[in-house]
């Protein structure tokens, strides 16, 4: 069995072969995704190599339609027998699912891909010899540990690199593929105060090419700064006060706007944005954009998980909800057009995901935002998942720095911040000018009024 020959080593050919075979076997439509990837990672702790990992793997996923019924299979077995099993399994499953009038591939006219080079793939992420990769991790950790005598321990420094190759084909004539690359350097120092209280924080840089990675030294220095400022944190009394979310935290709230506009939740009525298209859902200063077409972007791709071209959408414009985020299925359910936001893994039906998602920058510097606040809470970390997208209820653990008379003062920890997203979005009263993409979701500094801080 493991000795059988593979169909072909050309993955695009393999994908279309599987589509053809599935159609011959009885599928009225079929869709195949093949992913292969390589990864390298190394972790260094206290200057010594702790782990070194290097490997690759691949998988194939098939989705078939038999009339209005759908089913899917996935496998890591690329032998002839494995592929036959993939196809017969999917067709057998499609016999038990329900007829769904909204199921089906997109119309042939909708398929396509961006023709400009998105600059997603750089072989240089693998160009360093192993010794230099280890050195990246070591330099990053060392920069953090040499920053201050209160940092004597560390959860390590790491360097990771990965490349991926995605091939997609369907029975309506779409064939596409793209490669992507990724590298990152990070460290997590541990500081101890005179009271022997320990704090850990973390910083990283991630990019599609080594050339755009921040230097290990600057990442280490930032990780140290973030860790040291947490030492000797205290709790504050329970109260209402303005909250300023640092950019790396504010981006989770922009993610919540995306989730609230996710078509899957909208058609089910499972989001507080249901029925709010064209209505004011956030402060007038708010413009939220999702754009999968940005050259070199962490969230860019030439086509989405169903073979539709990615695009730029304004989700919220001057506080008004302009569009939901849709794939083919949810678009049909809502009698709308897909926004090219389909994502799919190897198995199951496509879901909905973001491209490069961000809140447009404002005019104020972070310092100017703080200066307006007499007492408030500058949040640098959130803990837990306490967000209910059905009701909008929001309650999460938080730590950060207390604001007094416009300045950051002592660290705060072991408190919660709570409110309701519906009101929180409307109560965004200041937006920073510090928008930087460090991943596929980005936000500048953001101030929200009216939330409750629970502490002592």
């Amino acid at each position: 069995m493991t000795q059988s020959l593979e169909l072909t080593t050309d993955l695009q050919q393999l994908a279309t072969d599987i589509v053809t075979k599935a159609s011959k076997a009885g599928a009225t439509d079929a869709e195949v995704v093949i992913r292969e990837g390589d990864e390298f990672s190394t972790a260094v702790r206290l200057g010594e190599v702790e782990t070194l990992k290097e490997s690759g793997s691949r998988g194939v996923g098939l989705r078939v339609f038999v009339g209005q019924r759908v089913a899917s299979t996935s496998s890591s077995d690329f032998t002839l027998e494995g592929i036959d099993h993939l196809i017969s399994g999917a067709l057998a499953l499609a016999r038990v699912t329900s007829e769904d009038p909204f199921a089906g591939l997109a119309d042939a006219s909708e398929f396509g891909q961006l023709d400009h080079d998105l600059d997603l793939y750089h072989e240089d992420v693998y160009s360093l010899p192993t010794a230099e990769r280890i050195d990246f991790a070591r330099r990053c950790e060392a920069a953090a540990m040499s920053a201050d005598t209160r940092i004597q321990n560390s959860d390590g420094g790491s360097f990771d690199a990965a490349t991926g190759h995605k091939v997609f084909a369907n029975s309506r004539g779409f064939v596409g593929e793209y490669r992507s690359s990724y590298c990152s350097v990070s460290t997590s120092p541990i500081a101890m105060s005179r009271n022997r209280e320990m704090q850990r924080d973390y910083w990283y840089s991630a990019a599609r090419t080594l050339a755009k990675l921040d230097s290990p030294e600057s990442v280490g220095a930032e990780a140290a700064r973030r860790t040291l400022r947490r030492l000797d944190g205290r709790r504050v009394p329970t109260q209402r006060a303005p909250i300023v979310f640092a950019p790396e935290i504010a981006r989770s709230l922009i993610g919540a706007i995306f989730d609230a506009a996710n078509g899957e939740s909208i058609y089910r009525g499972a989001s507080f944005f249901t029925g709010k298209l064209g209505e004011q859902v956030a402060a007038e200063s708010i413009n939220v954009i999702d754009d999968g077409t940005i050259v070199g972007g962490h969230g860019s791709s030439p086509f989405d998980g169903e073979g539709l071209p990615t695009r730029r959408k304004v989700i919220v414009e001057n506080g008004t909800l302009k569009t939901y985020l849709l794939n083919t299925y949810t678009a049909r359910k809502l009698n709308m057009q897909s926004t090219g936001n389909a994502v799919r893994g190897l198995s199951g039906n496509p879901g909905i995901g973001n491209g490069n998602l961000y809140l447009e920058a404002g005019k104020l510097s972070p310092e100017e935002i703080l200066r307006e606040i007499k007492t408030g809470f500058y949040v640098t970390e959130l803990l837990g998942q306490g967000v209910n997208m059905v009701t909008g209820d929001y309650s999460r653990g938080a730590s950060g720095l207390w604001i007094e008379n416009g300045e950051l003062t002592y660290p705060v920890q072991e408190v919660t911040v709570a409110g309701n997203l519906k009101e929180m979005f409307r109560n965004i009263t200041a937006i920073g000018n510090d928008l930087v993409f460090r991943g596929s979701v980005a936000s500048p500094t953001m101030r929200i009024d009216g939330m409750t801080i629970a502490g002592e």
């Binding site: 782990t51 490997s55 850990r200 803990l383 998942q385 309650s395 919660t416 911040v417 709570a418």
Partner: protein, 480 residues
């Protein structure tokens, strides 16, 4: 060797053309540049899932994957490589890649394997997965019907059934040889209720290392559907959760996620070896009230967190973590036990062959005390009674942890009054359990929903607890 162990082994040898000689050769290659230890972890998984939504079966999927992870340990260093192609040449290549961590004269694995003797904590489905397809379909359809029948205000129902069968085989240079076949099944129900004014949600689910018959006789689709619907309807009348420090009573069962976050992670040996845990150096010290005894137990039949052998081929066990408030021990894997010169507890786990094992929990719970649950509630003047949670999270180093209540009530003058909206509770791990003043006589384990994440690896776990009163804890609501 038990007969079932023989069949797990035969599966790998026949399906992938492995032999003991081949395993020895790979281990030899892994130690070709020296190192203290090497192991091979073979894994073959088949999984099925079926989902119903709007009373239509909209999804059905099956997946298979197989691969091998090869590890070489040299001092505190670990080299790792994996392959999803189990041909001899690819295994040997992976072994040589993992060997790059070491640099010295070759070492020899011990001659001959010793099979790990293990119990049979869970059934092994005799038939292939497909044969049960119509039964699985019926489970989600029954859940859909039951949830809709519960109350006219239930407007949306989604239910899913998923199961997997994971076969593993482990061979190590210290002579360890183990194999296992691990079933895992789960039924989940998600509902939305709407009363014309507002929409609320309710979820319920459960399962374990069980056969499908479990869902027909023990925890039925109707059980989970009613539970999800009940929670959603309850939420329609919920008031804002209070904010601030107060007395908190946690109900039995899944609220044991408190233990998982507040103490469990902090007691994993790797964090303590590196002295990055808030619990480092506290063995023998008081970390909880004297009423608190917490164990981790991987040997409970059919539980979601149980394992016949861990992912390093060692038998699992019951480990006392906290006894009468005193910290007793850590959860260890082979590496941390050796480096820390402490007992090896069989807690080495990994998400898949693509990942390096590390110390993880199995089923973590607090033993029953003497108090009647009614007395516990009656003792509270003003507080929160939390009986169900979404999940939690912890910062190991500072010890700060949170867990989010999805079903909770106000307690006023010893009586349960209004249900409250979702709220996060926050505390400090080494301190929180010192405020436990009453422990109920009603230990329950959760229904089989826990998935624990650490360093990007997810593994199934269980938690449990009797009714417990904490004299103070911070509740993150918005009310007064």
């Amino acid at each position: 060797m038990t007969s079932s162990a023989a069949s797990h082994k035969r599966y790998f040898f026949e399906k992938f053309g492995l032999s003991e000689r081949m395993l020895e050769r790979c281990l030899g290659e892994a130690l070709s540049a020296g190192g203290d230890y090497a192991d091979l972890y073979f894994e073959s998984v088949s999984a099925t899932s079926i989902g119903i939504d709007e009373s239509l079966v909209k999804s059905a999927s099956q997946g298979v994957s197989a691969g091998c992870g090869i590890r070489v340990v040299s001092g505190e260093r670990t080299g790792y490589a994996y392959t999803d192609n189990l041909l001899a040449e690819r295994l040997l290549h992976a072994a040589r890649t993992a060997a790059l961590i070491a640099s010295g004269p070759a070492k020899q694995p011990v001659a001959g394997f010793t099979e790990t003797r293990s119990p049979n904590l869970y059934p092994i489905p005799a038939a292939d997965l497909d044969s049960d397809l119509s039964t699985k379909l019926d489970l989600v359809m029954r859940a859909d019907r039951a949830a809709r029948a519960y109350d006219a205000r239930i407007k949306q129902v989604r239910a899913s059934y998923s199961d997997e069968l994971k076969r593993i085989l482990i061979a190590a240079s210290d002579g360890t040889f183990a194999s296992d076949t691990q079933p895992l099944a789960r039924l989940n129900v998600f509902v939305l209720a709407n009363d014309g004014q507002q929409t609320t949600r309710g979820t319920a689910g459960g399962g374990g290392r069980v056969e499908i018959s479990y869902f027909l006789t023990e925890k039925t689709p109707e059980h989970f559907a009613n539970e999800a619907a009940r929670t959603a309807i309850l939420q329609l009348g919920a008031v804002a959760a209070p904010a601030g420090e107060m007395e908190v009573v946690l109900g039995p069962g899944w609220p044991g996620v408190l233990l998982h976050e507040a103490v469990g992670h902090g007691l994993e040996a790797d964090f303590n070896r590196k002295k990055t845990s808030a619990f480092a150096g506290l063995i023998g010290r008081q970390v909880a009230s004297s009423k608190v005894t917490v164990v981790d137990n991987g040997t409970m039949p059919s539980r979601r967190g149980s394992l016949n052998v861990d992912d390093e081929g060692s038998p699992t066990q019951e480990t006392v973590l906290i006894e009468n408030g005193i910290l007793k021990g850590y959860l260890s894997d082979k590496l941390s036990a050796r480096l820390m010169n402490m007992p090896h507890t069989g807690n080495g786990r990994r998400e898949s062959y693509q990942q390096i094992p590390m110390p993880r929990m199995t089923n973590t719970y607090m033993l029953s005390g003497d108090d009647a649950p009614e007395d516990i509630l009656r003792s509270v003047k003003r507080g929160l009674y939390a009986v169900n949670f979404g999940g939690g999270s912890v910062d190991i180093t500072s010890g700060k942890f949170v867990f989010s209540a999805s079903e909770a009530y106000l307690i006023e003058d010893g009586k349960i009054t209004a249900p409250v909206r979702d709220a996060t509770l926050i505390g400090n791990g080494p301190e929180a359990l010192k405020y436990v003043s009453m422990v109920g006589n009603d230990l329950q384990l959760d229904e089989g929903v826990g998935t624990c994440g650490k360093d990007g690896q997810s593994v199934p776990v269980g938690v449990g607890m009797p009714t417990v009163k904490l004299d103070r804890m911070t509740v993150g609501g918005t009310g007064n």
